[in-house]
Symmetry: C3
Subunit: 271 residues, 3 copies
Amino acid sequence: MSITPRIITLTTDFGLQDGYVAAMKGVILGMAPDVRLVDITHDVPAQDIMTAAFVLLRTYRSFPEGSVHLAVVDPGVGSARRAIALEHDGHTFIGPDNGLFSLVLSGQEPQAIATLDKPGLWRAPQPSTTFHGRDIFAPVAARLAMGLPLIDAGTETRELGRMSWALPISDHEGIRGWVVHVDRFGNCITNITRQELERLRERRDVKCYAGNTIVSHVVNTYSDVSEGEPAMLINSQELLEIAVNSGSAQRLLGLERGAPINILFTEDLIA
Amino acid sequence: MSITPRIITLTTDFGLQDGYVAAMKGVILGMAPDVRLVDITHDVPAQDIMTAAFVLLRTYRSFPEGSVHLAVVDPGVGSARRAIALEHDGHTFIGPDNGLFSLVLSGQEPQAIATLDKPGLWRAPQPSTTFHGRDIFAPVAARLAMGLPLIDAGTETRELGRMSWALPISDHEGIRGWVVHVDRFGNCITNITRQELERLRERRDVKCYAGNTIVSHVVNTYSDVSEGEPAMLINSQELLEIAVNSGSAQRLLGLERGAPINILFTEDLIA
Amino acid sequence: MSITPRIITLTTDFGLQDGYVAAMKGVILGMAPDVRLVDITHDVPAQDIMTAAFVLLRTYRSFPEGSVHLAVVDPGVGSARRAIALEHDGHTFIGPDNGLFSLVLSGQEPQAIATLDKPGLWRAPQPSTTFHGRDIFAPVAARLAMGLPLIDAGTETRELGRMSWALPISDHEGIRGWVVHVDRFGNCITNITRQELERLRERRDVKCYAGNTIVSHVVNTYSDVSEGEPAMLINSQELLEIAVNSGSAQRLLGLERGAPINILFTEDLIA
């Protein structure tokens, strides 16, 4: 019988130039030599917890159940903030208790949460005060990936720090949302879900005020409009995205993270 | 008997900050847990098919035969452009049919080509219209790496989209070529091959007009000229490269991708 | 009995956009299919040997003994500089003999050194003159990771190129050191060790002249001072670091690599 090696994903704001990520991987492989390591990203802007939370949300479900997702964006390292691990939706998450997993949970209670308070499971009983990624999170993630039950990784708790996106504001006339992420292509992803949009829209046309432009096409894919043309589409995460075919919506429309997106339903019935 | 795990390489213009690459890896590892994943690059400039084609050309032969090379630079995602896989030179390539594999093929016919038109092999029968990397290419690459014959991945075809470099123009007097890639060190790689250069040169000296300079040294390695000195050399891919010892030819000579490189053969015989 | 796969780490100044790193990995996996590859960093500034040496120093000990650390920052590629491998502290290091491993050795003699002069172990007996990473270092690293004794990888030698940091200058009044690395967060790491600082300080207070500021807090972790406040702390490598809570010491204090850091011991006894 062969056992599928467990996967540990890594999400940090460490960047790749300083060797911090490699130090974590070295610790993990020293304890769990067969584990598969996959970088989600290490380019989270320094100390930007919500961007990390968003990238985790959009990514974790592509991994098989049983994966361990290690995330370290940790402005409070060395302070009293807790280190935690939790189980949710068949996956295990581990990192500082500062809201990193809020979007993954989207308001639900995790199946279980543990405060990581057992120094015997760490790299050394006295961890560095500035690098818990290497000294606490990496070794505990390795043990969880090797099969340590969550409950044995620390002390069970129900407490959890949370952060949340502002929710879109909507009424019968329209929806006011925000750009929550701008990707490498300049696509501007909003906090407006397909479900919300379709529920309120009924059979009406849609006009969208975004940056310096009014966008009126809702399309299925980028190339449904001409090159350089902006459009709305529902992206691979079921969120409304403002994009420009073969161009950058960020640059062409003057949008940034946090920019308001105003959707107006017009009375014209769609044929 | 132990079976060597198959390798899947990944080449995209996704960058690493958004988690798109990790989503593809998660899908692959969910289906083919023992496959080895190697990033070629994810820093292809957005939608720059020819740069991706060039990096694939210079890299794929370093991998063992049987490797699967997954490439996604896909401005036409969701449009009518086909998804394909092909076999060539003992390797398998998979991606959109937009010319990405043209330089690898360098004018030859692949051994086999399949149009990836079997939704049963995809992540879900209804793929996202904006992320075929995750929903079509990753799962089919995983199946190919697990041994699925190319012919069963889709429908066999002979059609293939191609792009090509402008070829150098040459006569008895010289060669006019172009810079096709500038690497991280500012080395400027041209489309002039060692073979072409040696065939036409005979025993004559070479003068090369490149940017703001005339380069007259053909050397074997960077340090054969003094620091800061420009030179021509044949690089590790058998292509003529303009380089500066301990410096950047791009910056010092004012060269960019697309810049003309004019080689003149002088009548002086080499001793 | 299962054998733990050996680890090869990679540290280069190749960047990730050109496929050079992937070419090395392809060669390694073709020869050692089960080896684990871990990137330390490929973002060493071009030809900056000391930065690579520093990142190796801070990282290698996180990996299990027996790991092979391949480092290629190689301005002299193709020249007469030797290719070497060495054993030190239970780890194997391989790369050009230009001082890359000086900080790892910190003045000690390695257990064994070999000059890599056996073309039969290379990718081809005639390696490219510009890419020894792919043609010499990768294949020899693969063989070392597969168990080839160091002594069989080349010819034993005692010669080794070395570089060194300027050491801090100290007397009873204080210590004059330098910033040796600025990390992604703008933390400024100095060449002053905890041991040196504690030995000289005795029970006195400390004042630190760093850039445009005098720092007087020695703290255990970033959040021991208010946000935006600078502080001294001993980092995860036991080196004195100048940092700013939730900010960049580099930007706020105007520090760069090479900047002097002057520590003065004041006569006030600590309570």
